[in-house]
Symmetry: C2
Subunit: 196 residues, 2 copies
Amino acid sequence: MTGAIQEMIELLARLPGVGRRSATRLVFHLLESSPEYAVRLGTALCQFHSQIERCARCANISDRNPCPVCSDSHRDHSVICVVENIPDLWAIDAGGTYRGVYHVLHGLLAPLDGIGPDDLNIDLLSDRVKHDGIDEVIVATRPSVEGEATAMLIRQSLNQLPVRVTRIASGIPLGSELEYADARTLERAIKDRKEI
Amino acid sequence: MTGAIQEMIELLARLPGVGRRSATRLVFHLLESSPEYAVRLGTALCQFHSQIERCARCANISDRNPCPVCSDSHRDHSVICVVENIPDLWAIDAGGTYRGVYHVLHGLLAPLDGIGPDDLNIDLLSDRVKHDGIDEVIVATRPSVEGEATAMLIRQSLNQLPVRVTRIASGIPLGSELEYADARTLERAIKDRKEI
């Protein structure tokens, strides 16, 4: 194993979830498959970052600015869902139920890691609430210490503004078994019970 | 998710072992990491197939012809290890114990799948045995129906030639437990027992 093959294995092994063994298997797959595919993927990779832009409004990442979500007139532009990162945005949007717009923080408060309020995309959120006729801000950060702290920070930053600020529900995931839920999730599920 | 991101997910999801979910995760990793890496990997992929050659002697795949194994004068060129494919060659060579050369069949006999003797790189093996002073041919195809049939075919094709033809041992893998070995492996391990 030398030169081009070795280099390809090393490059692929740097991808998350791809160890040296999987990288070797991928390289062998490339060797066996058509050169056309390798060239298509290669070209797409070379052009990738230059085609990608951050939306000036919501900080979503796409090949357009404003992003396809912000420029979609069929969406409800009076509701903003605040998410930690792009995968979370994709996950919520893939559901198809939520038809409002988003705001991507690109992180969560984590003082121990040196991530403070100024490192998050929060100022722009207040601006949007002030100027874009926003009725509701749904904070969809994860229910962890960092996620809750970030939610509180957002709540405070919007305190003076006439907007409803809500938090996504926490509890037992649908279809899962109660006996496998952790104690804190169960506690929360009972605390946040509602009339039926 | 549109355009460049969508295309990248679809291209990556075509790799073996990478589903749509992992592809999405990989794309997000690319978005977060430096453009430099994407361009390096992209360039390597575009050039990959044009840099790769099949060795005219052993059919190994590398960026040289003859391949680094065949052109390595420190190896024992009188012993040929016959393997099914390139990953098998890499696996044996990574061990570091075998210091002979190789012969890659690029397949196994599989009449039901329409793969006959002419589809395997066997003729060239007889030529090498005839002309290159080969003392031993080790048949290292897997111990399956196809692998054994291929081994028999190689045995026959070399019948008239003054060369020792051997077969790799089958039995209980080192470090594994007997109780988990399948019945046929156990049977073989007992049948092929040796003096100690």
